[in-house]
């Protein structure tokens, strides 16, 4: 028994090391000065802490034609905030109707919406680009916001629907008898008790929109509107960009969702689990 537990701890710690290794590499490399950076010593701790690589990754180096990530970071911020808020509200409205105002055909509509969550986006990319070009949203941040709202509908609807189905329908009925109408019930009863679901949905949407790569790549080919993931990929793909700058860039890119994870991990976890359809 004692040995068994020891083995379990050994196994758990071994894998903790596995999961932490890339973060270790990210940190030690990005904190090294340019002179110290060498692939052969990648595992070593930095002798002196330097934030040179962060500065270069953020500001770029116009002399060498190196674009910094600052603009793209802000692009992602401008993109993620409205997209997250709007898609959360859309999901909340859908979830409210689908659980509390079930009409004929609701049973069909929900799986039809849900299916959109699983499709490979490659299967809609070509028409998407064509349409965005038509409506002049191609290669703009509003265009990207719009795309994320549309393709966020399935998951946000799913999470809100699962949450609202735990609200007893008597609550809605009591409000009906008290004299509230459709909008009144939503505003005065449903919204005020939706905060946990909003937290879950907004964290989920924030993370996935921030981390998106495909839409950013295809819908925003102009570097000045690219989100940070696309810019990071470009930075890391250039042969002349030093390794420590790449790592600093990766860390900058990973930071916002990591902060959310560290401070709001509980909601993040709930989002993950509801995203797995375990509630369905």
């Amino acid at each position: 028994m004692k040995i068994g537990r020891l083995l379990i701890y050994f196994f758990l710690i071994l894998f903790a090391i596995f999961y932490l290794t890339p973060i270790y590499v990210l940190l030690v490399t990005s904190l090294k000065s340019f002179v110290e950076v060498d692939l052969k010593t990648m595992w070593r701790l930095p002798k002196t802490i330097s934030i040179e690589s962060f500065i270069q990754a953020w500001k770029g180096d116009p002399k060498r034609g190196l674009r910094g990530l600052s603009q793209n970071f802000m692009n992602s911020v401008y993109l993620v905030i409205p997209a997250t808020i709007l898609s959360a509200f859309l999901g909340s409205m859908n979830g409210y109707v689908l659980t509390k105002w079930r009409f004929k055909g609701a049973d069909i509509i929900f799986p039809m919406l849900l299916f959109g969550m699983f499709i490979p986006y490659q299967s809609i990319l070509i028409p998407l680009v064509q349409v965005l070009q038509k409506i002049k949203l191609y290669s703009t941040i509003p265009g990207l916001i719009f795309v994320h709202i549309v393709y966020g509908i399935p998951i946000t609807t799913l999470i809100f629907r699962n949450y609202y189905s735990t609200i007893p329908s008597e609550l809605i009925e009591a409000a009906k008898i008290d004299g509230a109408d459709f909008v009144g019930i939503y505003r005065r009863i449903v919204l005020p008790v939706s905060m946990p679901a909003f937290a879950v949905v907004m964290i989920w949407q924030f993370t996935s929109i921030w981390n998106d790569f495909l839409f950013g790549l295809v819908v925003a080919p102009n570097p000045s509107v690219q989100p940070i993931t696309v810019a990071l990929n470009n930075l890391a793909g250039s042969y002349f960009v030093q390794w420590n700058i790449q790592m600093a860039g990766a860390l900058i890119t990973a930071l916002p969702p990591l902060i959310v994870y560290i401070f709001l991990g509980r909601y993040f976890m709930r989002g993950l689990l509801s995203g797995s359809l375990s509630g369905v």
Binding site: V25, K40, P111
Partner: protein, 295 residues
């Protein structure tokens, strides 16, 4: 009453319209494009039947990328499920610092695939025979030199190296799903099994595992569809690799369409990809929604 019904319909109508256009009509449109001869910059909609598909199946790169995707999916699913399950049952043994372990296992889920790809590209960089770097260097140090390899630079390994990074990112998710599942099993069941004389191993074998079957199914669906669609990670980590040894259909589609301007060809790849995902997802959606109605 009537007014409320109208409002409720108006509430959900925008979403219905958006999904109808941006999912269903777009899929239909992609399907249509895949039957045309739009294979350069200028749109052209002459129907050529299944020619794009026939050419596709004869295409060397497509064959490799299909094979890669299947290998990747199989390896990724099996390793993530096993690792996730083991971590979950070990964490369920009243472990000290369970929270810390759990957070460490799960945090990669919060990170972009692009970041994961960039980091693992360097860790799995093999270096040279005399100057091994990254993981190879560690293997040398701890006396496991025989495990050294060229990783993704070796065409024989190729996509399998990407599996390591994907498992790193997603196995924590599987762990979380299983752990939530185990915690959801009423403790009376464990106690009843123990009273019935089951040992720890038997409890997991005969009680926990069967009860977790829906979770396993859910995990297979989630990981499966992510895996079939995998794109960001491959782009950031390896690209299509030596001799396309790391290529996947999603990447092939992107290159064909948006770099090569072979829109009809690209559309046909997209449709094949959609069919693969559909085979996995549609039965599951039907199954879980039906069982929900029963409840």
């Amino acid at each position: 009453m009537q007014k409320d019904k109208l409002y409720s319909f108006l509430f959900i109508l925008p979403s219905i319209i958006l999904i109808a256009i941006f999912v269903y009509f777009f899929i239909f449109w992609t399907g249509f494009i895949s039957l045309t001869d739009w294979n350069d910059i200028f749109p052209s909609f002459n129907i050529v039947g299944l020619r794009n598909y026939i050419e596709l199946f004869q295409n060397f790169r497509f064959q490799i990328s299909m094979k890669n995707t299947l290998v990747f999916t199989a390896l990724f699913l099996v390793s993530s499920l096993i690792l996730g399950f083991l971590l979950a049952i070990f964490l369920d043994q009243k472990i000290r610092g369970e929270n810390i372990f759990r957070n460490i296992y799960l945090f990669p889920m919060a990170i972009s695939f692009v970041v994961t790809g960039v980091v693992w590209r360097w860790i799995l960089n093999p270096g040279t025979i005399n100057n091994p770097v990254g993981l190879n260097q560690i293997l040398d140090k701890i006396g496991l030199s025989f495990l050294k390899s060229g990783w993704y630079t070796d065409p024989k390994i190729g996509i399998k190296a990407v599996v390591i990074a994907a498992v790193w990112q997603m196995s924590g998710y599987v762990m979380a799903m299983y752990l939530a599942g185990i915690r959801g099993i009423p403790s009376e069941l464990f106690e009843a099994a123990q009273v019935d004389g089951a040992n720890m191993w038997q409890v997991y074998r005969y009680i926990v595992l069967p009860l977790l079957r829906p979770i396993t199914l859910g995990a297979i669906i989630i990981l499966g569809h992510i895996s079939l669609k995998i794109f960001d990670l491959v782009v950031a980590m390896t690209g299509s690799g030596a001799g396309f040894s790391c290529d996947v259909p999603a990447l092939f589609m992107y290159d064909t369409t948006f770099r090569g301007n072979h829109f009809a060809q690209g559309a046909s790849i997209a449709i094949i990809l959609l069919l693969m995902v559909g085979v996995l997802i549609i039965p599951y959606l039907r199954y879980s929604l039906k069982s929900e109605v029963k409840r």
